[in-house]
Point group: C2
Chain length 224, copies 2
């Protein structure tokens, strides 16, 4: 057994190895989808597996890799284990990877158009614009994500009607003012589908591309 001192070069390699561990934990489509879901709020393994279309064992395996890289934290609550993002910095890192992909890989825009086929079908509203109109009381902000995600954090003054409840809760929405629908962000179709429904029912509607994290990154605060 050798007790020689480790040469500096070896330590430098070790540092890069540690950095690469973070990247490696994120270098898989399923794990990114899991992180993307977790960014909207904590979930059980079962919920994550269902939403990401994975077998439970496979989801568990991927979650444990994320956990080993300390990107997520798990916590047992009775029968279920809940996973959540370990640090807001991790969510930001995921968004950063997405932004680099958007900017460097042309294929992203093409695939996004194929996924969000109605992307250009509705009026859009920009962040600053929304901010101003909300203050004037000219628009109603509608969060169409599942209830738990709204509870985990939402835009100020947004009301929550999950997409699946939208048809039967139309009465809660004003017919005079424009309804601005948002969901998880630019890679989510929930708000497109809501906009489709609302348009069909004769309401005035616009889609906000941004979700809670994009809103925060733009420097605005979430609801208390």
């Amino acid at each position: 057994m050798s007790f020689e001192k480790k040469p500096p070069r070896a330590n430098k390699q070790d540092l890069y190895r540690l950095f690469a561990r973070i990247a490696a934990a994120m270098a898989n489509p399923h794990r990114l989808e899991l992180l993307d879901l977790l960014a909207q709020g904590p979930r059980t393994v079962e919920a994550l597996a269902r939403e990401a279309n994975l077998s439970i064992a496979n989801a568990s395996q991927h979650l444990q890799r994320l956990k080993r890289a300390r990107l997520v934290i798990d916590e047992r609550q009775g029968l279920y284990i809940h996973y959540r993002i370990a640090d807001p910095l991790v969510t930001q890192l995921w968004l950063h990877i997405r932004t680099v992909a958007e900017r460097r890989l042309d294929q992203v825009a093409v695939t996004l158009d194929a996924y969000r086929t109605q992307r250009h079908a509705f009026k859009r509203i920009a962040l600053d614009d929304l901010h101003a109109r909300l203050r004037e009381g000219k628009v109603v902000l509608l969060d169409v994500r599942p209830r738990a995600e709204y509870a985990a954090g939402h835009l100020p003054s947004a009301i929550s009607i999950p997409l699946e409840e939208l048809e039967r809760r139309l009465k809660e929405l004003p017919r005079r003012r424009t309804i601005v629908a948002y969901c998880r962000g630019p890679y989510c179709v929930l708000a497109d589908e809501a906009a489709e429904t609302l348009t069909r029912k004769g309401l005035r509607v616009a889609r906000l591309e941004e979700g809670v994290h994009e809103w925060q990154q733009a420097g605005y605060a979430l609801a208390d």
Copy 2:
């Protein structure tokens, strides 16, 4: 052959696959070291291989993976091919990964101390502090990186004396004012070695932990 429309779920998977491509390109210690070097300025394959301690063929292979992920750009200049970072966002992403690793993996601090053994041996100066003292003319800012990196971008008012030239160019430095040495950033030993030399020669010295990118991220501009 089928001409059926691709289901939305498939497109969603394709999106995550594209995002994962960016992460996968960075999920290797050698490629991160190459990116780290390139962040300080463009280089030839040969220089990169030498500095990252890789065989030429291996360095080339890794550089091509980075290129396929569109994180770097290559350009032939005569006999040599020069690689550079494709977009400042890529450098930021690398720094972001590093920051997450720092914050989430305890091992990083341990390994950094083993690599930069003199880390705590010299006076340190904080960014804002430096900014103020530079304006008062109380300190001299010294960039000890190789000449080409200084040329690719440096802090305002910094003078360039590459580490290997430091001993024989001591006369160029004032003995009354404090010399603030900096290099590639907190994971680089060049400035530690410079501080060691300067201290030994009886000059007053402090080390700045930040490099050009950390400086920029703090909201300051580089030299014109």
